[in-house]
Amino acid sequence: MNQRILRICLPVFVLGVVIFLWDLVVRGFAIPPFVLPGPGLVLATLISDAGLLWHSLLVTLTLTFEGFALAAVGGIALAVAFNQWRLAEYALYPYAVILQVTPIVAIAPLLLIYLPQPLAVLACAWIVAFFPVLANTTLGLNSVDHNLVALFELYKASRWQILWNLKLPSALPQMLTGLRIAGGLSLIGAVVAEIAAGSAGAGSGLAYRIAESGYRLNIPRMFAALLLLSLAGVAIFFALSAISYLALRRWHESAIDREG
């Protein structure tokens, strides 16, 4: 119980201290707002630009969720295909790795040449997010209890039954870990693509706002947009953690509180 209170109170306390110091430094050295705006000004900008920023947030979040959904479906489907057909794994896995290890910032400008901008953002979100889903689900599908497989074979289960009733439930914890990582990464992918597109001038997402505000030296709005992006990332992480907890709490050790 005490531990739980500390885990919530300590970070809040640190946040308070940082904001206080930030304010102190801005006031004390009389730093102009186009170099570093104080916390009060950022908050005020957040409120005064609420309409614009809210719209941008929705644009970015929509693309993030679409990218995440495609990554989840694509990653899981590909992992299942790899698990069912070894040859598919041999043929395609190296390219999945190549896609993953090539920095997304380097791919984004290229995608923007070939695809309309929203589609390019979506593609970036998908590329960075699908690999952790693929890798973790593959691991989960491969680490199923061999005796349970033998048991299913004893009862003459079909391949489909083994996949649906045994391998997928057994891979659920790893799959959810992959999805949790993918949630944050799809936001990063979307932001990277928007920033890359930003210099091309078209766009309305939060990252585009940051780029645009930078050119205009509207630093308070940059901070406000950045704050919203961080909050969006945190919200995505907590939402996926909650889903993971709800799905596993009855049976998986990772979701069970240890007593005593």
């Binding site: 005796n147 048991l151 299913f152 004893l154 009862y155 003459k156 009733n165 439930p169 057994s170 049976w251």
Partner: protein
């Protein structure tokens, strides 16, 4: 509900399964079985006794059809029998509750269990636990669930691979008694693999002593003490004499294996 096979419980009338010259070589060069001959009579309780690595588990998996013999034949004189298998570990699906675990054979066959799950759970003394998850149960209870699952389709042949080896002695004695009660009640054929002299004498009508590496039958000992057997039998001089006889046979089997 299902018709029981004719069974007068006197070994030697009709074999349910016959092994002739069964060999098993693993790809790593280990010769697990070398010319194993075994007749198991319908309704019989027979134990395969030997040190670890004598291929007794391999023999069980070959009988179950989970693994093919490298040479030799497995014959089913009155047709292939449905098999219930109990592994050394409980081998339960952690994401499914007790009743779903026990009902698995019916679900895989696409059939309704028709009340068999409830009956099987009552038979192993777990009537009140159908909604519990495996992690909420003790080791002994998990093994009971595993036995209930093996019995739920009322298979003519029950294969048990050191099922109680990981349990404490008190739980093991209790499960020994309950297994004998179930066997006498249902009149099924049981092939029981163990490395415990005491357990094999307590349970079996016949003990097949195997040599280690490569595994083959060293000798057979008939335990003609009457059933029901209980704690009085466990502490009787008759039991002690059987144990001494079997232990001596096992020692000779191991010596012969070492010499070979």
């Amino acid at each position: 509900m299902s018709a029981l096979p004719p069974n007068d419980n006197s070994p030697g009338n009709s074999p349910i399964v016959t092994l002739r010259g069964v060999e098993k070589n693993f790809s790593n060069g280990i010769r697990a079985l070398d010319g194993l001959d075994l007749d198991v009579q319908t309704g019989e309780f027979v134990s395969l006794l030997g040190p670890s690595g004598c291929g007794k588990s391999t023999a069980l998996r070959i009988i179950a059809g989970l693994s093919g013999p490298s040479a030799g034949i497995v014959e089913w004189p009155s047709g292939a029998a449905q098999i219930g298998f109990v592994f050394q570990e409980p081998t339960l699906m952690p994401w499914a509750d007790v009743s779903a675990n026990v009902g698995l054979p019916f679900r895989l066959a696409g059939k309704d269990d028709g009340g068999e799950v409830v009956q099987a759970l009552e038979r192993v003394g777990l009537a009140g636990f159908s909604r519990s998850y495996p992690r909420e149960l003790s080791g002994g209870m998990k093994m009971r669930v595993s036995i209930a699952r093996a019995l739920v389709t009322r298979p003519p042949l029950l294969l048990m691979d050191e099922p109680f080896a990981a349990l404490d002695e008190i739980t093991r004695f209790k499960l020994n008694n309950d297994l004998l009660a179930v066997w006498q009640d249902l009149r099924r054929t049981v092939i029981f693999v163990t490395h415990s002299v005491f357990e094999s004498v307590y349970l079996s009508q016949r003990i097949v002593v195997m040599t280690p590496r490569p595994g083959r039958v060293f000798t057979e000992i008939v335990i003609d003490a009457p059933y029901p057997r209980d704690e009085r039998f466990r502490t009787s001089s008759e039991y002690a004499a059987f144990c001494r006889q079997v232990a001596e046979a096992l020692a000779q089997a191991m010596a012969s294996g070492a010499a070979a």
